[in-house]
C-alpha cells in the first residue's frame, strides 16, 4: 500500500517536471509482469520487421535496379539509392517486350481461366461437401492424387489429346480444363471450397430447401453468396498463378505471336546478351546508355509483375478479411 503511494508520488513528480517519457519508462518497469511481456513483444516486432525485410527484398531490389543508369549498374558503391533515376529503362523494356501485344495474351488466358476456376470449383466443392453419394470417396481421392501428379507426368498424352481435338495453337487447352475443376492447381481450389462448405452450418440451406428452393437455386442463391471469402482466395491465387505460369501455355500455344508475357521475358534476357539492331534508332540516348542491360531487364520484370501487384493491392484488404473469415467454424 505504502509502496504504491510512493510510486504514484514519484510518478506525479516526474510528470510535474514534464518528462512524460521518463514517467512512462518508470511505469513500465514498475509492473514486473508486464516487463517480460513487453520484452517478448519487442522481440516479436524485431523478428517480424527483420523477416519482413527479407520478404520485401526482391521487390525493392527489382525496383531500384530498374531505375539505375548504365554506369551505376556496375558501380558497387551505388547500392540502394541511385543518384539519377532513369525512367527510360521502362520505355526500352516496354518496346523490347512488345508489352501491348503480349500482355493481351496473358490477360486473355488469366481472366478466362480464373473465371473457369471460380465457377467450377465452387459448384463442385459445394457438391463434395454437402452430398453423400456412392463413389464420393474415390472422387476425392482422385482429386487429391490430381493435386500431387506433376503436370509433366501426363503432359505428353495431354498434348496428344489436345492435338486430336485440334486445340493446339489456341488457348483452349489451358482454359477449358479449368471449367471442369482441373487446370492449373484446380484440385487445390476444389479442396478450398469443399473445406469452406464443410465448416459452414447447413441450417440456412436447409431452411431455403424447406421453403421450396430447388437444389441448384439453393446453391446459387444461398451457398454462393456466402462463400465470398473462399471466392476471393481462389480468385487471387488463380489470377497470380495463371499470370505467372508459362509452362503450359508455352507448350500448347507455341506460335511466336501467342506466347505470354513471362515467356517473353526469356526473349528480353536474350536481348540483354545481344541487342537487336534498330531498336534504339528513334530514341536518341546518350552513348553507352543505349544498351539493353540488366536494369532494362529488371524494368521488364517490374512491368510483368505490376498488374498482379496492382490487383493484389486493391483486393488486399478484402482478401485478408476473407482469410480471417474462412474459419467460420468457431462462430
Amino acid at each position: 500500500m505504502k509502496e504504491g503511494m510512493v510510486s504514484t508520488e514519484k510518478k506525479r513528480i516526474l510528470q510535474e517536471i514534464n518528462i512524460p517519457l521518463l514517467a512512462k519508462v518508470h511505469e513500465w518497469f514498475k509492473t514486473p509482469k508486464r516487463v517480460s511481456e513487453k520484452i517478448v513483444r519487442m522481440g516479436m516486432y524485431v523478428l517480424i520487421i527483420d523477416l519482413a525485410f527479407v520478404f520485401i527484398f526482391p521487390f525493392l531490389f527489382m525496383l531500384v535496379t530498374s531505375l539505375k543508369t548504365n554506369t551505376e549498374l556496375y558501380d558497387i558503391t551505388v547500392n540502394w539509392v541511385p543518384k539519377t533515376l532513369k525512367f527510360e529503362n521502362y520505355i526500352i523494356a516496354f518496346r523490347a517486350l512488345d508489352y501491348a501485344i503480349y500482355s493481351k495474351n496473358s490477360l486473355m488466358i488469366t481472366i478466362m481461366a480464373t473465371i473457369g476456376h471460380l465457377l467450377s470449383c465452387s459448384f463442385i466443392g459445394y457438391g463434395l461437401a454437402r452430398y453423400q453419394f456412392p463413389g464420393k470417396k474415390i472422387l476425392i481421392f482422385v482429386v487429391i492424387i490430381a493435386m500431387i501428379v506433376p503436370v509433366q507426368t501426363i503432359i505428353v498424352p495431354l498434348y496428344i489429346v489436345f492435338a486430336n481435338l485440334k486445340w493446339l495453337n489456341t488457348y483452349l487447352p489451358v482454359i477449358v480444363p479449368t471449367f471442369f475443376g482441373y487446370g492449373l492447381k484446380g484440385s487445390l481450389f476444389l479442396l478450398v471450397f469443399r473445406q469452406f462448405y464443410l465448416g459452414l452450418p447447413k441450417e440456412l440451406e436447409n431452411a431455403a430447401k424447406i421453403d421450396g428452393c430447388g437444389f441448384i437455386m439453393t446453391y446459387w442463391r444461398i451457398a454462393l453468396p456466402i462463400a465470398r471469402s473462399a471466392f476471393l482466395v481462389t480468385l487471387l491465387l488463380s489470377l497470380v498463378w495463371h499470370w505467372n505460369d508459362f509452362y503450359e501455355p508455352a507448350i500448347y500455344a507455341s506460335k511466336p505471336s501467342q506466347i505470354t508475357l513471362p515467356a517473353r521475358l526469356n526473349e528480353l534476357v536474350a536481348m540483354v546478351n545481344r541487342p537487336p539492331e534498330g531498336l534504339f534508332d528513334e530514341m536518341a540516348l546518350a552513348d553507352g546508355e543505349s544498351t539493353v542491360n540488366n536494369a532494362v531487364l529488371m524494368a521488364g520484370i517490374c512491368m510483368v509483375v505490376m498488374p498482379v501487384i496492382a490487383v493484389f493491392a486493391t483486393l488486399q484488404k478484402k482478401f485478408m478479411q476473407g482469410i480471417e473469415r474462412t474459419g467460420l467454424t468457431g462462430e
Binding site: T65, L128, Q132, F133, P150, V161, F180, W241, V304
Partner: protein, 296 residues
C-alpha cells in the same frame, strides 16, 4: 411423360451427382485418360501418334533411367535432398510467421501484404530471372563485411563463412517459398474458436502449453494440407532441374516413352512421400475429437 418419383435418399444422391458431374467429365478427359496413356507409354513404344498405338516393351524405359542415363539419378537425388531440407523448414517458418501475424500487432495488414509479395513474384519466370541476378545471396551476406567485421571473418576462415552464407541462402529461399503456407496457417489459426483459449487461460494454462495443447492439434488438418502442398510445390518448383530435363526429352528430342517413364518415377516418389506423411499425420490429427468436445 411420367415423372420419376424418387425417395429422399435417391434424390439426395442424384443431386450430388449433378454437382460433381463436371468433375467426373474433367477427371476422365483431362486426368485419368492421360494418366492411363502415360502408364502405357512408359511401358511401351509409340508406333503411331493418332489413336495412341503403343507396343508393349516392358520395363525398358525405366531401366534406361536407372542404368543407361547417367544424368537422371544424380539429378533426382539432388532434388530429393533439396526437398527434404526445405519442406520441414518451410513448415516451421510459416507456422511461426502465421502465429506472429495472427497476434495483435500494429500494421498487421501491412505485414500480411509484405509476406505475400514473394508469392506474387515467385511463382514463375520472374523469380528465375531474379535468382539469376543472385538476389538471394544479397539479402544476407556475411562475406561483404557489413554485418560482422572483416577481422572476425578472417578468424573464422572462408569455409565457415561460406557455410553460414549458404545456410542463410537456404533460409532466404525457404522464406520466399512460404507465402501460401503462411496464408493457409493463418486461416487455420483464425478458425480456432476463441473460447478455447479463454477457458484454458482461466484454468491457468501458459502460452506455451496453449500452443502445444490447443493451437497445434486444432490446426493439424491444415498442417497436413500444408505439408502435402509444400512437398508437391517443391517438386514442381521452377528452379527444379528435373522438370526441364523431362520436358526436353519429350518435346525437343521426341523421346515420349522415356519422358513418360521419368515422369512416373518422379510421381511415384512424390506419392510415396505423401502417403508416408498422411500416415504419420493421421496419428496426430484430432480435429473431429476436439470439435465434438467443443459442441458438447
Amino acid at each position: 411423360m411420367k415423372k420419376i418419383k424418387l425417395n429422399m435418399k435417391g434424390k439426395h444422391i442424384l443431386e450430388g451427382y449433378v454437382f460433381v458431374l463436371p468433375l467426373i467429365i474433367g477427371t476422365s478427359a483431362f486426368f485419368l485418360f492421360p494418366l492411363y496413356i502415360s502408364i502405357k507409354l512408359s511401358f511401351g513404344h509409340l508406333i503411331k501418334m493418332a489413336g495412341f498405338q503403343i507396343e508393349w516393351s516392358g520395363v525398358q524405359n525405366y531401366l534406361r533411367a536407372f542404368i543407361i542415363d547417367a544424368n537422371f539419378v544424380p539429378m533426382f537425388l539432388k532434388v530429393v535432398n533439396q526437398v527434404f531440407t526445405r519442406v520441414p523448414l518451410i513448415i516451421i517458418f510459416s507456422l511461426l510467421l502465421a502465429i506472429l501475424l495472427n497476434k495483435d500487432i500494429k500494421c498487421r495488414g501491412f505485414f500480411r501484404t509484405v509476406f505475400f509479395i514473394p508469392f506474387l513474384l515467385g511463382t514463375g519466370e520472374v523469380m528465375k530471372q531474379l535468382l539469376g541476378q543472385d538476389v538471394d545471396k544479397q539479402v544476407v551476406s556475411l562475406a561483404d563485411g557489413t554485418l560482422i567485421p572483416r577481422e572476425f571473418l578472417i578468424y573464422l576462415g572462408s569455409n565457415v563463412v561460406n557455410a553460414i552464407d549458404s545456410f542463410f541462402g537456404v533460409i532466404v529461399l525457404v522464406l520466399w517459398n512460404s507465402s501460401v503456407q503462411i496464408l493457409l496457417f493463418l486461416s487455420g489459426l483464425q478458425s480456432i474458436p476463441a473460447p478455447l483459449y479463454e477457458s484454458s487461460k482461466v484454468d491457468g494454462a501458459t502460452g506455451w502449453e496453449m500452443f502445444w495443447k490447443i493451437t497445434l492439434p486444432m490446426i493439424s488438418p491444415i498442417m497436413l494440407l500444408n505439408i502435402i502442398y509444400t512437398i508437391v510445390d517443391s517438386f514442381t518448383d521452377i528452379t527444379n532441374p528435373i522438370l526441364p530435363y523431362i520436358q526436353n526429352h519429350a518435346f525437343s528430342r521426341m523421346m515420349f516413352e522415356y519422358a513418360a517413364a521419368m515422369g512416373w518415377i518422379y510421381f511415384a516418389f512424390i506419392i510415396l512421400l505423401v502417403l508416408l506423411v498422411i500416415g504419420i499425420m493421421n496419428r496426430f490429427t484430432h480435429m473431429t475429437e476436439i470439435k465434438e468436445r467443443v459442441k458438447s
